[in-house]
């Protein structure tokens, strides 16, 4: 095509990552998230290896079972890491938004597996109400104690990144669920050993199951919010529309959509009706509107259709914020 455009064209294609803080913000969070996930995975994996070795040497099945338990945590973290690896693949003509959504889907997988885990805990607790469970021995208590420590450290490491990424939050919730499980094992084991209160085990199990459901609820809601393409919670759509309409020359903003591609990376599309008598250049006006959406509302990906009449506008669900 027009060779004269090649220079700017090049900028368009490659400037995004380094020059612009919004998109590099998401990139930065992804990188720190990856680092923390790797550390947490290393911690849990090394503890798992220690448990397996100790289990084989001592012949304790309980230790091996606990190691298998830690494996689910490692799996959740591994899934999150895998999603980050996939998300970093470049966009293509078939996948124009890239692979960022895999992060959200990984979070969904982790949330669903937490629910299945909670269901299994309820099922087990139901059986234990009917028959006296086997008492957790000293070895199990010790393993539970060390496991608690490992999970505490892992949760602490993941905690700060969890706020920035649904993907990391999914792994974080798994670690927290496991942490609660360790507390349950220790408390129930102690009560059973000291006072013979075996009923403490199923009661605590149910409590932990409920806690897992409650603590993962927010994650599920946020994931569904993204998959339903709802407006990001942090963006006030009314004030965004107002801000755009306050610009001189703009008559009406309609058919406006904002949604999340992945945590920290949002997209905005809008149709902007411009006063036909507006004397200035449409180009300058549009750039100003984009700056508002970009700087004041932190939206990285913007497409604005500037129109001087509503003719030929056929979208089925024009969301006109003025109707409200």
């Amino acid at each position: 095509m027009d060779r004269g455009n090649d220079g700017s064209h090049h900028d368009v294609g490659h400037g995004g990552h380094d020059d612009h803080h919004r998109s590099s913000d998401a990139h930065h969070h992804r990188e720190t998230g990856r680092g923390r996930l790797l550390i947490a995975l290393g911690l849990i994996a090394s503890y798992m290896v220690v448990e397996v070795v100790a289990g084989i040497i001592s012949g304790s099945l309980a230790l091996l079972a606990d190691a298998a338990h830690m494996l689910t945590d490692a799996g959740a973290i591994g899934l999150a890491l895998f999603a980050i690896w996939v998300a970093n693949r470049p966009a293509s003509i078939k996948r124009t938004f890239g692979y960022y959504r895999t992060e959200v889907l990984a979070a969904l997988c982790n949330a669903v597996s937490l629910w299945i885990l909670a269901g299994w805990i309820f099922f087990e607790a139901y059986h234990r109400f009917r028959e006296v469970p086997e008492v957790a021995g000293g070895v199990v208590l010790a393993a539970g104690g060390v496991g608690l420590g490992v999970n505490l450290v892992a949760a602490w490491i993941l905690h700060r990144s969890a706020g920035h990424s649904l993907n990391v939050e999914g792994a974080f919730r798994h670690v927290v669920a496991d942490l609660m499980g360790s507390v349950g094992v220790i408390v129930a084991g102690t009560l059973t050993l000291a006072f013979g209160w075996w009923i403490a085990d199923p009661i605590l199990s149910i409590l932990i199951g409920v806690l897992i459901l409650v603590s993962s609820w927010r994650l599920v809601v946020n994931v569904f919010q993204v998959l339903l393409e709802g407006a990001p919670a942090r963006i006030d759509m009314h004030s965004l529309c107002m801000a755009l309409e306050d610009v001189e020359g703009v008559t009406l903003v309609h058919d406006i959509h904002a949604w999340t591609i992945t945590s920290g990376y949002e997209s905005l599309t809008a149709h902007v009706l411009v006063d036909p008598d507006y004397p200035g250049e449409l180009e300058t006006l549009r750039r100003r509107l984009q700056q508002i959406a970009y700087h004041d509302f932190g939206i990285a990906h913007i497409t604005m259709q500037m129109e001087q009449s509503l003719e030929g506008c056929t979208e089925r669900h024009h969301f006109d914020h003025l109707l409200a």
């Binding site: 095509m1 027009d2 455009n5 090649d6 700017s8 064209h9 900028d11 368009v12 294609g13 995004g16 990552h17 020059d19 612009h20 470049p90 003509i93 078939k94 996948r95 124009t96 938004f97 692979y99 959504r101 959200v104 889907l105 669903v112 569904f224 998959l227 339903l228 393409e229 709802g230 407006a231 759509m237 009314h238 058919d255 406006i256 959509h257 904002a258 949604w259 599309t269 149709h271 449409l282 180009e283 750039r287 970009y294 990285a300 990906h301 913007i302 497409t303 604005m304 259709q305 500037m306 129109e307 001087q308 009449s309 030929g312 056929t314 979208e315 089925r316 669900h317 969301f319 914020h321």
Partner: protein
């Protein structure tokens, strides 16, 4: 109704499809409920665990249909300021949950079959009244054939109805297997056929749901709809007089049959400002009429200054121009 829906490809065809789909689902729901009652009674009379398991299976089918109807109802709710695309995506999410349910179901059937096989190894066989079992299953086959026929007509227009359709097909396999194993139990007293057939059913359920799951994932990952050729679309837009370059193009599916397209269109710097609106309308017509995408946002620009924010510009030309360089 169906003919009308087929013929009418523009405007509100989606709404028509949805109305027809909903009616089809309600009819099927009634059919399945009848069948389930017959099966429960049949299992009590014949003592067949297979029939009871199948009745439970049907219950999950009915839940799936209720979910699908609910999804259609909620998808009709108007868009709001926080849910600017409306509730259309719920349809897709319900299909995903449906696929998950199918997998859980298949695992359960496999587990049951495993239990029966181990029982057989220990010398215990479940004996069933094969004749009653086969008769009840034969009634079920008729009901399922009607249900599948009712759904088949609308399943092409909605991924959601298709989800239910595959449920019914998987179910029908189960019914056929029940008839055969009932007859074998009746005539040959070989009761081991039951768990073996169950395992085959579980495998069939898995296979039938994988295709659906792949389609759902494609929608959720916001990939380009399979029927849209992005290269062709970009070329068509660039062939219009005055257009220099199309970049940052995105096409994705909101819900089955409803796609969205956004692009930045670079226009020659000396293009007369007075004709911008006409150019925009022409470009929109190309996307809408020639490519059938109904939700369009085109950013017409005369320079790419200040357009660096988008961090994943899929520039369909970059592949070629870099190759040339």
């Amino acid at each position: 109704m169906a003919h009308q829906a087929h013929a009418d490809h523009s405007g509100h065809s989606h709404d028509h499809h949805r109305g027809a789909s909903k009616r089809a689902l309600v009819i099927v729901l009634g059919l399945l409920a009848t069948h389930m009652v017959v099966e429960v009674v049949g299992s009590i009379v014949s003592g067949s665990l297979g029939l009871l398991a199948h009745a439970a299976h049907m219950l999950t089918d009915m839940v799936a249909i209720c979910l699908a109807i609910f999804a259609m109802w909620i998808a009709e709710r108007p868009a709001t300021i926080t849910r600017t695309f409306g509730y259309q995506r719920i349809e897709v999410l319900v299909v995903m949950l449906n696929a998950l349910a199918l997998w859980v179901l298949a695992s359960w059937i496999a587990y049951e079959a495993y239990l029966r096989l181990t029982e057989h190894a220990h010398g215990h066989d479940h004996e069933v009244e094969g004749g009653i079992m086969a008769a009840v299953a034969a009634i079920g086959l008729g009901i399922h054939l009607i249900a599948a026929w009712v759904l088949h007509r609308s399943s092409r227009h909605s991924i959601n109805v298709e989800g239910v359709f595959w449920h019914i097909i998987a179910d029908m396999m189960g019914v056929i297997a029940l008839i055969i194993s009932g007859l074998i139990a009746l005539f040959f007293h070989w009761h081991l056929i039951d768990p073996i057939v169950s395992l085959v059913i579980a495998a069939l359920i898995l296979v039938s749901s994988v295709r659906l799951a792949v389609r759902v994932l494609r929608v959720l990952l916001e990939t380009v709809p399979p029927h849209v050729d992005m290269y062709e679309l970009c070329h068509a837009l660039e062939d219009v007089d005055g257009v220099t370059l199309v970049h940052d193009v995105h096409a994705w599916t909101i819900t089955s049959g409803y796609e969205a397209f956004t692009a930045h269109v670079l226009v020659e710097a000396d293009y007369p400002p007075g004709q911008m609106d006409a150019l925009l309308r022409r470009l929109r017509e190309i996307v809408r009429h020639d490519f059938g995408i109904r939700h369009i946002t085109l950013q017409v620009e005369q320079s790419v200054d200040g357009c660096g924010e988008e961090n994943h510009h899929v520039d369909h030309l970059s592949a070629r121009s870099f190759a040339e360089a």
